[in-house]
Symmetry: D2
Subunit: 138 residues, 4 copies
């Protein structure tokens, strides 16, 4: 692996100065990453449910972490396609976790998938497939 947990953590903190809003890195391995989001009022929908955009944002940054763990700290990698299925209603006011793993890393793009979990439930609350565009001169 090109990048250590500490290096990636520092890089994400720098890229997302609003920090906690996008979640924190919890695990990093060969082609995978895990992130956690402590939900606050800004992430909620009526009834205390975590909002769709909060889950999408966490899934997006978790796969970004998994990709950067493999290709190095490329700041210009950007999401080009995201497809998400919302499967179950998350537990109200509970943190959410995203487990992301790459399916393919090519010359110009990286594709991976993400499972989103709600603390207190076994089954995933969402599943996403995401493509990142990787800049040519990295």
């Amino acid at each position: 692996m090109t990048v250590t947990f500490e290096e990636l953590q520092a890089f994400l903190a720098e890229q997302f100065p609003q920090g906690a809003r996008y979640g924190t890195l919890e695990g990093l391995g060969d082609g995978w990453a895990e992130m956690k989001l402590e939900v606050d009022e800004g992430h909620l929908r009526p009834g205390g449910t975590v909002s769709g955009p909060a889950m999408m944002g966490l899934a997006d940054v978790a796969l970004y972490a998994a990709l950067l763990g493999k290709i190095g700290l490329v700041p210009l990698a950007v999401t080009s396609n995201l497809n998400i299925n919302f499967l179950r209603k998350p537990v109200a006011h509970s943190p959410i976790r995203a487990r992301a793993n790459m399916l393919r890393i090519g010359r110009a793009t990286g594709v991976g998938q993400v499972y989103v979990y709600s603390e207190g439930m076994e089954e995933p609350v969402a599943h996403a497939t995401i493509t990142y565009s990787i800049p040519a001169n990295r």
Copy 2:
């Protein structure tokens, strides 16, 4: 049309008390809606670009508005699938707009598409296709 612009505006303000973070309703017609988001620091990525989650969130709520304009103020309609392609980099610090229109409204689901625009650019910056699940007893 079942719902007026003012009724929908009031409903969205009630559903999303954090208000401006999700955008404001700008237009409503038969099966379509338009929303605008004044970007603030929380919506930005390095370089001043509007973040992916901000665009996804605006697209999602714009199609929700278009759907509710047709079926009435059903609070329990939830997003079941969202697919988004990011097409171009938005103008830094510029507001974004979403124009959503329904492609089909069935018994249990509604499907539509959304174009996201960045003020100051003619071509769309993103395009999304979204499915809403409609509760059985509405």
Copy 3:
């Protein structure tokens, strides 16, 4: 499980009289199914590669099999959304296999994912996420 391997095999043969074009059932379990397609000239692209539509068709029917194995032989379940990422070029003239598993089965819809493999390669050649619409009065 509601349905046996033999019952599902017979049902698919009846539903798809053109048979082999859509593949044959190879395995069935609790929420999963595996299908195989012997590629013929009609499934090929220039260079002997298996065509995208052949992979999409196999993925689609494999998840249909996984769903029916759980809910019973419901002929009116139809695909409502399919998202597929093509990851690698399949081996020329080699059979392809689809391993499908359900992520969620609800009242009105079932969502699952499918990995498509090309015989002779370890990594998947495609990954799909598919939603089936389940008729109300089954």
Copy 4:
């Protein structure tokens, strides 16, 4: 426009020797193309409905035509992502038409959307968003 209707028609006939199975070119313009498929027994599902794979295949090749009309006859452009929503049941035994238009053509990828129509119905039966990967040295 780089390519004429006749040049593209000849190119598609050469690329897809099984010809009619994938449809015929009906129109070509700046960033758009229209194709038609005369459905035969191999494209049908029980009840005489056009199958999902037949609609996906037609959508795929229609956007391929729209892309090639802009970038020239590049044989190595391949589909990398396809997302399709099935909206309505097509008319039994009726031809289907696909109207494809590009949303963006970049250095390495092209993104577009396709509406699929069934002859005899006004509303679309399916809507797809497709990404093509464009080879580096064209």
